[in-house]
Symmetry: C2
Subunit: 435 residues, 2 copies
């Protein structure tokens, strides 16, 4: 059997401890599959003495994690520290700069600095892999970058944030409201104390930007992801959607068109209405799923646990096995120089059906005002439901509209016309229907 | 850019023509992703002149396909001829024997001769890949052998035959009977003129045996797959299943236990009752899906088109891109010498709930006879439905029983007791509930 692949672990949180447990428990099998043993030689974390439920006494220790990349007994550094910049980025740079392999679960860092890191990896003939950064234990990066590599990818979309999916499917099954379920998710550990990155869609946007670069061969452009979270969704929206044959899911979706030689990349994270017979509608709880539509493969779907120490460790170690086997494709499937620049696509021309929810004052003329704006903007209404509060004149009334298919720009124009109207008790909520 | 990877195609049916079209249409992108061009240099088929909708005039031609493996201008042979033995096997042997790479979509050949071929590949340092042999365009072999490589796989199961799944989901949505829908499937090209291999589960068994070897590190044992097809399922079974909250799917399922140092491999293809909230219940039409349960990843699901020229060509070319990139893991993830022998597991101890359907004479005492046999065999009945034919004394009556969880052997014993009973108008049908 060939030489041991020697690993340094930076960050010993739940995922780091999971990697240690996994390599201990499945080590013999992994050595057989990888063709060589994979062993941890050194680790670094904030507190050496902390009880993590795993024994780290056999590993070398560095107080300064950057020192891991300088050690002679390390071939690959696994970065599990997190954060788009700071120590994680410094470690990634020195690791690749010294020709060592980098395996990371850090979606924020790759979303912000992936191109620079991929270039460093290329220049130093070093491996860079990040399967665990997208969709937890699901081999989505491998499925897209290798399994679907023969295809021009036409569209990629999926459920990329387990916290949001847990909250939405709980709201769905219990009828409770957002804040209520969020509190419970925090108590259960499915949501962070500060849940902003998750519930406002930023985490999903990080992941989407990686998938888009990989799928379309475009330069990473996290800044161009149009991002809307789920915090404005009410139990009433979910009930309306259900009555129409839909569930609500936070979807990250990207496609890419070439127009006059210029690439237009569309990247959006937003709640969508998903038809109940669509495979993503059945994805509930903290599960993730990624769909890739290839021009020969057709629709491919990858589904599994979106987070957790076991699944994430599984993805990290899959990357290590690939490196041990010598399977090191370019991080974004193409050499960095071949990744094309793109302009953000104008969503105004996209044709969709849309769900619009208004909270309105309960008085005559309100519906006329809304429908007139729709007509003037060229939006064709398919159905409209008004949900009144009998015996309650003080509370606003909910009006839910589903439009026929039409350009998104028309819906935007209608909403602009209604801006500042005294009939509206709240900013309207718009969600597209997944087609 | 590095040297061209030169391909010979044996077999120019719909998949062969699909590979030609794919390489032509996506060739530039594929060369970028693979790091080198992938080009067909020679082809072979029965009839050179046949119109296949693709131009083969630029490729070398061999009347004898085995000659492809002897050509100096060929690095990899793609075998799309089919058949477990005969010319396909001869070609595979000479290809690997001469150190050339082999890519095949031939599940029957790999199921019967995979170990010999993997050994040949090892001995000659040649690549052998067969992604297209299992589940069409879905990267299931890659997902299992690489994506889930860090895991001990605890169970693998899935919908592996598109023809059966089409028939079952059509029966489900239309209420029609098996023979009726089979005829339609044949007319639509979803089923062969001789559909035996598909509807009796042999095709799914081929695929399951490959997945099992890959998942558990056991030696291929196609002969040990217990195989039951779908031809005895009636519209009434599907209706009963639905009333109970289940759909019927032909499932291939395998797991592997170690007992006193001996490996016991369980491999079964059979119709199962699948709970409607299980992801496989939503898989309808000719779609395939593979589920792998890893000890760290948890449940991973891969879903997509199970057949068709585009998806199958996508899988073939993904293998070629892997070979071009130098990603050539052992065909069954482990060196052949490390694959363990296994004994077929005794299913009698497996604990399951079961659906039993009897066609019985409509006369007093029949139910007592059946329930007495169940009691004597130790089978606990959860529910029983008798579907009579009022005003029709000549036709048998359907009795559907669902058992509580218990050992399969007990159900078998009950059925043995009832064998030859004059109360039964037909052999009972047993289907397990997917747990």
């Amino acid at each position: 059997m060939a030489d041991t692949l020697r690993i340094a672990l930076a960050g010993l949180g739940t995922v780091g401890a999971g990697v240690i447990r996994l390599l201990a428990e499945n080590g013999t099998l992994i050595a057989q599959r990888a063709g060589r043993p994979i062993e941890i030689t050194a680790v670094s974390a904030r507190d050496r003495a902390k009880d993590r439920g795993v024994d780290i006494s056999g590993f070398g220790w560095e107080d300064d994690m950057t020192a891991l990349s300088a050690r002679d007994d390390v071939d690959v550094v696994v970065e599990l520290v997190g954060g788009s910049d700071g120590p994680a980025l410094a470690l990634a740079r020195t690791t690749l700069g010294s020709g060592k392999g980098l395996v990371t679960a850090n979606k924020a860092m790759v979303a912000h600095h992936g191109l620079e890191l991929a270039q460093l990896a290329e220049a130093n003939d070093a491996a860079m892999r990040y399967e665990a950064a997208v969709a937890g234990g699901i081999p989505a990066i491998k499925g897209l970058g290798e399994g679907a590599a023969a295809n021009r990818i036409e569209r990629i979309y999926g459920i990329l944030n387990g916290t949001c999916n847990y909250i939405l499917s709980e709201m769905e099954s219990t009828g409770r409201d957002f804040g209520d379920v969020l509190g419970e998710a925090q108590a259960l550990g499915y949501a962070e104390a500060d849940p902003t990155f998750d519930i406002e869609g930023v985490d999903a946007a990080h992941k989407l930007s990686l998938l888009a670069a990989l799928a379309f061969g475009t330069r990473l452009d996290f800044g161009a992801v149009a991002t809307t979270g789920i915090s404005r969704i009410r139990a009433a929206d979910i009930a309306q959607a259900r009555a129409l044959g839909y569930v609500i899911r936070l979807i990250g979706l990207a496609d890419c068109e070439k127009d006059n030689g210029e690439r237009h990349l569309f990247q959006r994270v937003a709640p969508y209405l998903v038809p109940t017979n669509h495979p993503l509608a059945g994805v509930s709880g903290p599960t993730n799923a990624v769909v890739a539509e290839g021009n020969f493969s057709g629709r491919l779907l990858f589904e599994g646990a979106g987070a957790g120490d076991g699944p994430t460790a599984s993805a990290v170690v899959a990357d290590l096995i690939d490196i041990a086997r010598g399977n090191v494709p370019p991080p974004f499937s193409l050499p960095v120089s071949a990744l094309e620049a793109s302009a953000p696509a104008d969503p105004g021309h996209r044709r969709n059906r849309a769900y619009l929810r208004f909270l309105v004052a309960d008085r005559p003329g309100v519906l006329a005002e809304i429908t007139a704006a729709m007509r003037d903007a060229g939006v064709s209404i398919e159905s409209m439901i008004q949900q009144g509060h009998p015996d309650d004149d003080d509370n606003p009334v909910l009006v839910a509209i589903v439009t026929h298919e039409g350009p998104e720009g028309a819906v935007d124009r209608a909403l602009t016309m209604l801006e500042g109207s005294e009939s509206l008790a709240d900013k309207p909520l718009v969600m597209r229907l997944l087609g």
